[in-house]
């Protein structure tokens, strides 16, 4: 191979522009001409191949498998010259993740063996499939809301139902919004990307509830402007004795940074109970008072809940099985 220095044009270039001022390394031409190997890039394909053997990975696996950062020297994310998370070596982010995720008692045993990656969402949801599904759900609810308007449904609601809407239903926005925040925290801290995805979609489902409750309350406000719908929700959530225990548990949960702990608290306790209370028991209460429409709306939310439970159950079972094998 011809050496760069022997080339006529390069010699001239050197004379004219004084190349090599900062040594061979700093010379643009030299760098391009003498190929010195690719920088290794982060690809999950070799990992998938290790897992699957000679099998074409499914779309779900391609877009989901082992894509999250983890501060482990064996991780594919460590080979960047910038260290884990591409943030050097001493960044607060890395400390945070090490402390609250990597060393969390629930996460650690599997994390060290890289076994969290084995979790697969039973629904194999990708961004694409989740959105098409959510779109259908939204269409369903849109039609119901249209129906409520077209049939002047709200005109016939009894006074006690309106009270229930105002004092219980409206503040639920805060409850579901906190659930959304918690889902997103878990998404950002999950030990692997397949679990991250589950929580991202879960967060989106909770956001949808917040929006739909607000929409419903606004509809009532338009028809009953004198009742002050939507004005006092925050006050009720912060002060009504009905909500204080809920608020306490939710805020404690939000301040639980350890991932294993918050994962269990949220999925196996708080969310389970609150979903059951709000989407089942409260719905029955509304039904008793003569509001049947809300059952259909909550059925759509509860379908999401059933999926969330299934996913959470799978992830916890996955962890337990792996731990028991040890």
């Amino acid at each position: 191979m011809t050496r760069l220095e022997d080339l006529e044009w390069y010699r001239r270039y050197k004379q004219m522009f004084g190349a090599f001022k900062s040594g061979v390394e700093g010379d643009r031409f030299f760098r391009d001409y003498e190929y010195r190997g690719y920088k290794r890039v982060w690809s999950t394909w070799p990992m998938l191949e290790k897992k699957l053997g000679r099998k074409k990975p499914s779309e779900y696996q391609i877009v989901t498998y082992a894509l999250s950062y983890w501060a482990d020297p064996r991780s594919p994310t460590y080979i960047y010259d910038k260290g884990p998370f591409e943030l050097g070596t001493e960044h607060i982010t890395q400390k945070w993740y090490k402390h609250f995720r990597d060393n969390s008692p629930f996460i650690k045993p599997l994390f060290e063996r890289g076994e969290w990656h084995d979790y697969e969402d039973p629904y194999k949801l990708t961004y694409w499939t989740y959105n098409s599904m959510a779109d259908d759900n939204e269409t369903f609810l849109d039609k119901i809301y249209e129906e409520i308007v077209n049939t002047k449904y709200d005109w016939n609601l009894s006074e006690e139902v309106l009270e229930l809407y105002k004092n219980v239903y409206d503040p639920l926005r805060y409850v579901f919004h906190i659930m959304q925040m918690e889902s997103m925290y878990l998404a950002s801290m999950a030990p692997t990307s397949s679990i991250t995805n589950v929580f991202i979609f879960m967060g989106m489902d909770h956001m949808r509830r917040v929006q739909r409750i607000a929409q419903r309350v606004k509809m009532l406000d338009i028809i009953y402007p004198s009742l002050g719908f939507g004005k006092e929700a925050r006050k009720i959530f912060e002060e009504s004795p009905l909500f204080q225990l809920t608020r306490e548990v939710l805020e404690k949960m939000l301040a639980t940074y350890d991932v294993g702990e918050s994962l269990v608290a949220f999925n196996l306790a708080v969310k389970f109970v609150l979903d059951e209370l709000t989407l089942q028991h409260l719905t029955q209460q509304f039904s008793k008072m003569g509001d049947e429409m809300i059952r259909h709306i909550h059925m759509s939310f509860y379908n999401d809940t059933l999926r969330h439970r299934h996913q959470a159950q799978e992830s916890v079972q996955n962890a337990n099985n792996s731990i028991n094998i040890m």
């Binding site: 053997g53 000679r54 099998k55 074409k56 499914s58």
Partner: protein
């Protein structure tokens, strides 16, 4: 299905992973080779409906081959059509020797092959229900 033809080496087992399909061309025959859980199958890669070319990504990786032109669905193991029923892809004989995959390519010219094979459906009245076949 017995038909006159000779075996050509088209791929090696390293070329085609489980759940993958590859399109190769031998003597103007487009051939779709699929790997279904380690089992190798080959079909003439033209849909019986409108002779649409079936592409590598028409195979869903498990059980179906879906023609990209009008979404006719075929069972990837047998070539029989699932939706609508009563039609079929033309299955080609496959032979795996060591690491090499051989496919028996018909020895008649493609134009003649198309008339013979796809004409069959016209007589049986499968195609006429769904429009004119070229």
């Amino acid at each position: 299905m017995s038909y006159p033809g000779e075996f050509h080496k088209v791929l090696t087992l390293d070329d085609i992973y489980e759940g993958e399909a590859k399109l190769v061309e031998v003597n103007r025959y487009e051939i779709l080779v699929v790997n279904i859980n380690g089992e190798i199958k080959a079909y003439y890669a033209r849909c019986a409906h409108a002779l649409g070319l079936i592409e590598p990504n028409s195979f869903d990786g498990e059980e179906k081959i879906i023609c990209p032109v009008h979404l006719w669905e075929y069972n990837a193991r047998t070539g029989e059509s699932i939706n609508p029923e009563g039609s079929s892809l033309f299955p080609l004989d496959v032979k795996v020797e060591g690491n090499d995959i051989f496919v028996k390519v018909p020895s008649v010219p493609v134009s003649e092959f198309k008339v013979k094979w796809f004409g069959m459906y016209r007589q049986r009245g499968v195609i006429n229900e769904f429009g004119v076949n070229s």
